[in-house]
Subunit: 204 residues, 2 copies
DNA sequence: TCGTTTATTGAATATTCATTCAATATTAAA
DNA sequence: TTTAATATTGAATGAATATTCAATAAACGA
């Protein structure tokens, strides 16, 4: 219970930064704007984040944390069952809950920073590694998939998920969106299906 | 031969904008900086691009044009042959020539703008549609693939390519990069293989 | 060659930016 | 209660921002 004020204020500031980024785009958010939005002087923000880069790093940590939360329910579900039902897994992986607690625009703005900031790049990489490992451990819990190369399978699945996440962001028409979504779900389903067939026929 | 000066200057400005974006990141490039870089007053830039948004739109058109060029050799190759060799196609699709004539950081910076600018979003969507159609027409030229759903197959292939393009940008270690690249190539190869097998066995 | 359009310049604008600083208020420790 | 640390304020900084404008130079069509 050291400096609870400090931590709460920092959270509040990051949260305000996120709100505004969502509304106006990250590159258009200034310290002054955050201050006005939260009803505090810019100097107070600078007190907790001595320069803007630190503020941005804080936002990114927040974003990446949120992003991870999307997969929480999947983990809970499948780590109890010790059995992977492909269609269920696919539906969870592509569930669009992420749209509610997460802003794609901010995510990609931060991602773009990856190319000129090593620290940010490392953070993003860490996230992606963690997500793959999570899926791997889910697959490892299944009696069938665990006999195959689960790391490889997780890699193949996530490249489709991320490609889909990227591409679908461009599509606004709901019907078209759902049509494409179905394709990519099927594609991942196919990966799981093929893998389990290969494993089972190896057994004979 | 109307106003050749005008068009040349505009190109020059966009090109300077691109150079600086590559170096310092798009959001850090100002009109003044472009001017200094090209040895011209900011007011001249404003003469050709009356506001910054138009300048950004110009850059994006340039970027998307460049992006398309990556696939030019693939098109040429396969539109002559009237036959798709899966391993050859895969190698071309994943060839990293793009790294030479194209900057990923700028591409994703522009992509991030997609979320708050309808015009930009439409441009990006148009590009992605065009790329898929190109691949579709390549597949349509092949006696085997043309009997299947080429649009669907193109969609599935590109979601892997784009997921890979996104994900591999995070990886700097060459060995790791190549290991992952191999996985994604194999994944696309698999898609082509499976499709042709399905078509051929339907024949019997 | 004259007149008009276009290209180019350089100076000036108000606004916004991140950041600094000294002063005050609040909290926590002694 | 005194002291020290932290939180908060508001004013001020200079640098950078996009954009405007009036003036000059160059190119071009008649």
């Amino acid at each position: 219970m050291k400096s609870t004020i400090r931590e709460e204020r920092k959270k509040e500031i990051i949260s305000g930064f996120y709100d505004l980024s969502r509304l106006e785009g990250m590159e258009n958010v200034s310290i002054a704007k955050i201050g006005k939005h939260l009803g505090m002087p810019p100097s107070l923000i600078m007190h907790y984040f001595p320069n803007k880069r630190l503020l941005v790093l804080g936002l990114i940590a927040h974003i990446l944390h949120q992003y991870q939360l999307i997969y929480k329910p999947i983990i809970n579900k499948f780590e109890k069952d010790h059995k992977v039902y492909p269609d269920l897994l696919v539906n969870r992986l592509f569930s669009r809950e992420w749209n509610l607690l997460f802003d794609d625009g901010v995510f990609f703005s931060c991602y773009a920073m990856t190319f000129r900031d090593e620290t940010i790049k490392k953070e993003y990489k860490k996230l992606h590694l963690k997500l793959r490992n999570t899926l791997k451990s889910i697959l490892d819990n299944d009696p069938v998939f665990s006999r195959g190369d689960t790391a490889l399978l997780a890699e193949k699945i996530f490249v489709v998920i991320e490609g889909a996440y990227y591409y679908l962001s461009l599509i606004e028409d709901e019907k078209e969106y759902n049509r494409k979504l179905k394709i990519f779900k099927e594609q991942v389903f196919q990966l799981l299906q093929t893998e389990s067939q290969l494993i089972l026929q190896d057994n004979d």
